[in-house]
């Protein structure tokens, strides 16, 4: 399953490395979050949401 975060990132036209740089993380960490292998802290979630112009619900809520 492609994660909402990955879809949003591709939509925004950012690479994993570019997003990682914007949120002060590493490309590996972004890859792990997109694959669902790492649960980021709330601070990192917020930073990612801001970088991708989305809300936390848009990216990380699994309801719909």
């Amino acid at each position: 399953m492609v994660s909402k975060m990955k879809l949003a990132r591709v939509e925004t036209g950012l690479t994993q490395a570019q997003l990682a740089k914007q949120v002060n993380a590493t490309r590996q960490t972004i890859g792990l979050i997109e694959k669902g292998e790492y649960n980021p802290s709330l601070n990192l979630c917020i930073a990612i949401s801001k970088a991708l112009n989305k809300t936390l619900d848009d990216l990380f809520w699994e309801g719909d």
Partner: protein, 159 residues
């Protein structure tokens, strides 16, 4: 970020920080177990009668083991080189690793000379040359293993 003196030893990226923290905690837990096992063995079976030099050696071994355990877990987890995933990046990092190993080897040699002094016989001269070379090769080998594991992990996570 949680305030702790450990922050000095931890990476900035939160995933790496968490993993390294786990490695350190595992090392501390295992060392605690080893110490308990050692004291139980000493109390009920072996009855070691150690002099102060041997006690110092054993006590010094524990922090070394802790650092070693954390270092090897870090290397084999593939989290050191977080940006390397393609062949070009891999080759570039390998070149950098080679230079770093050489630099570390030279530093090791200088410290060795300062601590041991100028060699006076054949065996000391062999030691002075062989030890830094072995140290440099091992350093490079571990760096290479770390690089390979990192590249493999990053490849699996790529866009």
């Amino acid at each position: 970020m949680i305030l702790s003196f450990l922050n000095v030893f931890l990476p900035e990226d939160e995933y790496k920080r968490l993993r390294v923290l786990y490695f350190m905690a595992e090392a501390a837990f295992l060392m605690g177990g080893l110490l308990m096992l050692g004291s139980a063995l000493n109390n009920y079976w072996l009855k070691w009668n150690l002099d102060s030099t041997e006690v110092t050696f054993i006590l010094m071994m524990f922090p070394m083991l802790m650092v070693g355990y954390t270092y090897f877990r870090y290397i084999f987890s593939g989290i050191e080189h977080t940006e390397v995933s393609n062949k070009r990046g891999y080759k570039e990092e390998r070149r950098v690793a080679g230079k770093r190993a050489l630099l570390v080897g030279v530093l090791f040699f200088i410290i060795f000379v300062i601590v041991k002094g100028i060699p006076t016989n054949y065996y000391e001269r062999i030691d002075m040359i062989a030890l830094p070379i072995v140290f440099t090769l091992l350093y490079f080998l571990f760096d290479l293993v770390s690089l390979k594991r990192s590249a493999k992990k990053n490849n699996e996570l790529e866009d």
